[in-house]
Symmetry: C2
Subunit: 170 residues, 2 copies
């Protein structure tokens, strides 16, 4: 949070603001980095007859077991109708199970089955391979910077939700 006091609305105050090329470089690297990373798992997904939408759900359920449907909706920022179809397919394929919430019986808590966990692990291995290669090449200091800039791209209103992924529930 260094330099937070510098007004982003005052272009003259920061040389960064004026350098169009530095902004474009970030836009492009973010685009290529993100799309190429996600491409890495498409082939694996296609084998199972699943799409990226399924992977995103699997990923977050793996990351935070007993996630509720509502929490997952907020993470994915899609409509419940869209998510409903995805969850139904994952359930039909025995990759995800739901149980009724203990505290609030209206909620459904999502968990991966053993099959689901195995598939998620296989997909995650692809991501790990690519990302750890990039981490190693860039070095630890760069990794911190990478995280730091990306955190700044997440709107304030979503930041807590994203950080909470790192904590266990309960």
């Amino acid at each position: 949070m260094t330099d937070i006091s510098r007004p982003a609305t005052s272009p003259g105050a920061s040389p960064l603001f004026l350098r169009e090329d530095e902004i474009r470089r970030g836009v492009e690297l973010l685009y290529f980095g993100y799309t190429r990373l996600t491409n890495a798992i498409d082939q694996e997904l296609a084998k199972q007859g699943l799409g990226r939408a399924h992977h995103r759900a699997l990923y977050f359920i793996a990351r935070q077991p007993d996630l509720t449907v509502g929490e997952l909706l907020r993470l994915l920022a899609i409509t419940k109708q869209s998510l409903g179809r995805v969850l139904k397919e994952l359930h039909d394929r025995d990759l995800v199970v739901t149980k009724t919430g203990a505290l609030d019986r209206r909620q459904k808590l999502l968990r991966l089955t053993d099959n689901g966990a195995a598939l998620e692990a296989e997909l995650f291995a692809q991501l790990r391979e690519r990302l750890s290669a990039a981490y190693v090449t860039a070095g630890q200091e760069s990794v911190s910077g990478f995280w730091h800039v990306l955190e700044g791209l997440v709107p304030e209103s979503d930041r807590q939700m994203v950080f909470d992924l790192r904590k266990d529930k309960s």
Copy 2:
């Protein structure tokens, strides 16, 4: 391309490879950072009745005037049929013009019209606002790290193409 000599294929050499949480943190930040940044311009695009696919084309044509259709296809990594529809719409709306290549008359060189350039600038302003705020908050060192890690995510085979965006065509 510094550190290129460090073997990315030697997992044991770095504790990073074993830390699942650091990989997941990168995956999540990349996902949220990328999607939230692109969301930032959706509203503006919707006003014009355009989608993200149109923006991607506008962006790269702005970035490298006289880009050929084939080059744009390689950047976007989609089929010519998909791109054809997008370019047709941009042309119909007087945002893009094509001219026949001087050296190779089979090629079509793409350029933004004044309207197209104005729209692209308006959309770019949104990206600049978000990214420069993140850059300023994170600091210059972090920005370098951000770039460095992302470069490592771009497959070797695409890297030259991405770097070439920074050069003018001659």
